[in-house]
Each structure stands twice: as C-alpha cells, then as structure tokens.
C-alpha cells in the first residue's frame, strides 16, 4: 500500500487511460458504416443507445443510489419533442432542444421527487413515467393524433453518428462526474445521506444536479430514436421495457464503474440479437432472470466479478 493512493471512489481507475480509450473507441467506430452493411449499422446504433442511456442512469442511480425505474420518461419526452418538431426545426436544434426539455423536466420535478427515498423512490419514478405517458397519449388524442407518420427522416448512418457522439459523451460525463467533487458527494449520499449532510454535502442541490445530468442525454437519445420510426405511437416512446432494460444493463455490468454500463449493454445486446426478433417474450424472461440472479449473487455486476477474479481492487 502506498501512502498516496489516487482514489476516493470505488472504481476510479486513476489515470486518464479510460477517457483516452473511450475517445479512441469512438473514433474507431466512425468507420463502422464504411465497413459493414446497414443492418449492422443499426445494431451499432442500438448498442450506442443503450450505452448512452445506461451511463446516464448511473450518475443518479449508481452514484447517489437513487434507483430510477422510470428513466424512459426522459427518453420519451425527448422523442416526443423531436417527433413534434420534425420538419419544423433542423436536427441540430431539435436534438439539443430535446435534451433541454428532459433536463428541464428533471429540474422541475427533482426537488419533491428526490425527497422520497429507497423503494418508494423506485416505484415513484415508475409511476411518474406512466403518468406522463398517459398524459401525452391524452394530449395526442385531444389534438386528434393517434399516431404520426414520419416522412424524410435522416438516414441511419447520420443517426448512428449522433448516437455514437451521445454514447461517448455520456461515458465521459459519467467518468468525470465520478472523479469530481460532485461525484464524491453523491457517493457519500448513497452511503449515508444524513451523514453526508453532516460533513457539508449540499444534499438537495447535489441530488438535483445528478437527476438533471442523468436526464439530458436520455432526452437526446430519445430524440434520435424518435426519428428512427416511420410511424410514431406514444406507447412506443414511453415503453417501460426501456427503463427496465437500463436498470438490468447497469446491474449486470456493474454501476459502480464507468466500464460497467458498456459491458452490460454489450452483453444484453448480444442476447437481444439472438432472441428479441424471434422470441421477444423469452428475451424478457431471460432479462428478468438475469436481473434476479445478479441482484442475488453478484450485486456489483460483471465488473465486480472480474475484479474479484483479478484479486480485487482493494
């Protein structure tokens, strides 16, 4: 043991190796559309989507320990913004606008929602996502839009590039928050909120920051995915399976390390490629079983298992 360790938080790898590797992987992935056919581009797009969503989720739920089972609400709001503004606003305005909308929503509901703790917070987030879903459905019904047809949406390659940017951005964001003072405060909140407050962590402000930071990129991800659809129904945009998948990916990968969401997303993507199109329900059964097994036997996910095999980090 040296007297000058470089970590304050579990899972911080210390040096700049991780962000450099992330950027390198991102640059490398730019070549994907040149190398493979459009089917694999859309697979790569999906992978980037899950990485971006899960990384964002860990900022709130991994670091601060407030487990959100309703992250689809940000995705859905973002998707709705981009669908409604399609052909009214250019892409480079609509997507940031979607992120802004999601972040604003988090900022508004953050203070009351984050007063609720533990299991109540978990089901509350789910309830909010469903509530917003039904409100948007009703809004669409009142303006007589049962579903929207989308014409002239951007080609998959363009959307892939945007999503790649979001995945790299979310990964770097999660990594840098974890190393920052904000991250240290959030981890303290997760470990013991009253004790964190006692050593001077501004808990309300920090939780709200985490909530907003974990919402913005999912909003933009939703915006991109909205443009993938040719016929848009609100039910698709606010599908609770998305929230569930995010949680499962984070827990399978390990939410205490920026590598976890990448591993979890990759693992589940393979499973989904094998099962989803042919046997979606079997895929969901597998997802549920995996979640139960990891919560019971490997709460720190694949990253935790690897660390244990490698002799442990501490």
């Amino acid at each position: 043991m040296t007297a000058a360790p470089t970590t304050t938080a579990p899972g911080v790898t210390g040096t700049w190796r991780f962000p450099v590797a992330t950027l390198a992987a991102g640059l490398f992935a730019i070549a994907v559309p040149q190398v493979v056919g459009s089917y694999y581009v859309s697979v790569a797009l999906t992978l980037c989507m899950w990485i971006a969503l899960t990384q964002s989720w860990t900022i709130l739920s991994g670091m601060a320990g407030y487990i959100s089972l309703g992250h689809v609400v940000f995705y859905g709001l973002g998707g709705y913004v981009s669908v409604v503004t399609w052909q009214l606003l250019p892409l480079w305005v609509a997507i940031p606008l979607a992120g802004l909308a999601a972040g604003l929503f988090a900022a508004i509901i953050g203070a009351p929602v984050l007063r609720v703790r533990g299991p109540y917070f978990v089901i509350l987030t789910f309830g909010i996502a469903e509530l917003v879903k039904y409100i948007v459905i009703n809004v669409e019904a009142t303006i007589a839009q049962a579903g929207r047809l989308m014409f002239g949406t951007p080609p998959v390659t363009i959307l892939f590039y945007v999503m790649l940017g979001l995945a790299v951005g979310a990964t770097l964001l999660a990594w840098s928050v974890r190393r920052s003072r904000l991250g240290a405060g959030l981890i303290a909140i997760r470990e013991d909120e009253p004790a964190a407050e006692t050593i001077g962590v501004p808990v309300v402000r920090y939780k709200t920051y985490a909530y907003i930071l974990s919402a913005v990129i999912p909003g933009m991800v939703g915006a991109v995915m909205g443009l993938r659809l040719t016929y848009v129904e609100v039910l698709q945009l606010f599908n609770p399976i998305i929230s569930f998948t995010i949680v499962t990916m984070a827990i399978i990968g390990g939410s205490d390390d920026a590598r976890g969401p990448v591993l979890g997303a990759g693992f589940l993507l393979v499973l989904s490629e094998l099962l989803w199109s042919s046997l979606p329900q079997l895929y969901m059964v597998a997802l549920g079983t995996l979640l139960v097994c990891f919560v019971l036997f490997a709460p720190n996910g694949i990253v935790g298992l690897l660390a244990r095999r490698g002799g442990g980090r501490r």
Partner: protein
C-alpha cells in the same frame, strides 16, 4: 347530475373498490411483516385469473371452485418466492433502504418473468369468458350476478382475514410483527414461520382477487401492473399495518376512479390512477412509515 348520484355508479364503485381492498390487503400483509414492496402482486392476480379462465373454458369448472385452487396455487408460489429469493435477502444485514430497494428489483424481475412466461404460455392476446353475466335489476340499479358475487366474496374475504388476524394465534403473530418487529422477536414470535405465512396469505389473496376479476374483465398477461399500483395506493393511504384502514382506502380509490372517469372521460382512467399514486407518494414521502425520522 342525475347520473352522478345514481345508484348505478355507487354500485360500480363498490365492486371495483372491493377488489382494490382485497389486493391491498394482500400487499399489506407482505409489506407489513417484511417491509418488502411486492411489485409482482398484480401478476399473481393475473395468474389467478388465468387459472379460473382455463378451468372454466377447458373443463367447465365454476370460478367459485377455482377460488380454492387459485388460492392454493398462489400460496405455493408465495412459499417458493420466500424460500428462493427473499429469505436470504432479509437475513443479509446492511442499510435498510438498500435492502428494500434491492428487494424491489427482485420483485420487479420476478414480475417481468411471470408476465412473459404467461405470454409465452397463453399468448399475449386478451381473453374473456364471462361467467354469470345475465343482467337483472334491483330497483333502479342494473347489475350482473358476477359483479354482485365479486363484491360479496371480496368483502367476505376481507372480513375473514381481519378476523383471522384478530382471533388466531398466527394472525396475532403477524400483527405483532407488523407493529414492532424487534419486540415481536423478543416475546417469542417465530419470525421465520410467520413471514412465510404472511407471504402465502398475501399471495393467496392476490390469486383469489384474480379469479373474481376473471368473471367480469378481459384478462391478459400484462393486466396485473395497474392493479399493483392500485394496491400501493391503497396501503399507502390506509397506513402501514392498518388493515382496516387499507380496506377503507380500497373503497375510496374505487370511488375516486369511477367518479373521476364520469367527470372527465374514459381515457383519463389511467391518469387518475397514476396521478393519485404519484400525489400520495409525494405528499407522504416516508410512505407508510409515517412520522418524521429523527437523526440521532
């Protein structure tokens, strides 16, 4: 406004309210004794509904007899879930909130598995075999035998459970555990066995509620979740361990839903349910625990 005051609406509210009271009661038993929020509660109800559906459409067995079979089946699943998933979790020491959140994830995983296994086995398409649905009139009110039966059976089950908890030694042990876990241990309550019993009782009540619903409603593998939410509303409004309070809250929610829909539109039904749910959690952030936590 005539319609608003009609006995017809009152009757509808009572019927749905009695079902909410029943599922709330089951959830309250599991939550009260172990602080576990069973998010799969509505899915047990769904399984009960399918039990009744298949027994009726395949062998013509009356749902009244299915009540018994569904109750036993759901209790068995309760026992399996207790031994397989939760006993270990409860024993692991650690921050209570983390344990509770983890258990919620376990229940959520269980819920997803049960729903999708049901969809694989029974297909996802909604089904219905109405039973005893001939209409008759009592004064102004037209009702069907199955809805009357639902109301009657649900009320009887609620009453029976409350009496069981008052009169039976195991019932008293469950109540003791709900009110003060540590004290209950000290006075010699066999916590293990009582927890198992409340799991079985809670799951069994959910199965029973499902059979009742199958007589009047369309059933599908994914029907359970709104009922889980309704059950949460019921136990949070009624108060932890306050079983009678929960039963009253069940009827209250029935009234809010039926009259809310009349005042707005059928589309608003889900908004009302989830709106009430979110509002209650925000207004009482400590949920059932109530009171304030003192930091010492």
């Amino acid at each position: 406004m005539d319609a608003f005051l009609s006995g017809q609406l009152l009757f509808s509210a009572l019927v749905i309210g009695s079902v909410y009271a029943l599922i709330g009661l089951g959830l309250n038993l599991v939550y009260g004794t172990m602080r576990l929020l069973n998010i799969a509660h509505g899915d047990l109800m769904m399984l009960g509904a399918y039990t009744s559906f298949w027994l009726l459409s395949l062998v013509g067995l009356s749902p009244i007899l299915s009540l018994l079979i569904a109750a036993l089946g759901a209790s068995a699943i309760g026992a399996a879930a207790y031994f397989g998933l939760f006993r270990r979790q409860i024993e692991i020491s650690g921050p209570v909130e983390k344990l509770e959140a983890n258990s919620l994830l376990l229940f959520f995983g269980l819920s997803v598995v049960v729903q999708n296994l049901a969809a694989l086995a029974f297909t996802a398409s909604p089904r219905a075999v109405p039973y005893l649905d001939q209409v008759f009139r009592v004064g102004e009110i037209s009702m069907t035998a199955n809805r009357l039966l639902t109301l009657g059976v649900a009320l009887a089950l609620c009453a029976a459970t409350v009496i069981f908890l008052r009169a039976n030694i195991y019932g008293l042990a469950i109540k003791a555990l709900i009110q003060n876990r540590d004290a209950a241990k000290i006075v010699g309550v066999k916590v293990e066995r009582v927890q198992l019993l409340s799991f079985m009782l809670g799951f069994g009540l959910a199965g029973l509620a499902g059979v009742l619903l199958s007589m009047t409603e369309q059933i599908s593998p994914f029907m359970g979740f709104p009922f889980t939410i309704a059950a949460f509303v019921v136990i949070i409004t009624g108060g932890l361990g306050n079983l009678t309070g929960g039963i009253i809250a069940g009827f209250l929610l029935g009234f809010i839903e039926i009259y809310g829909v009349v005042l707005t539109s059928q589309n608003a039904r889900s908004i009302i349910l989830y709106g009430v749910f979110v509002a209650i959690l925000l207004l009482r952030p400590q949920g059932l625990l109530g009171g304030r936590r003192v930091v010492r």
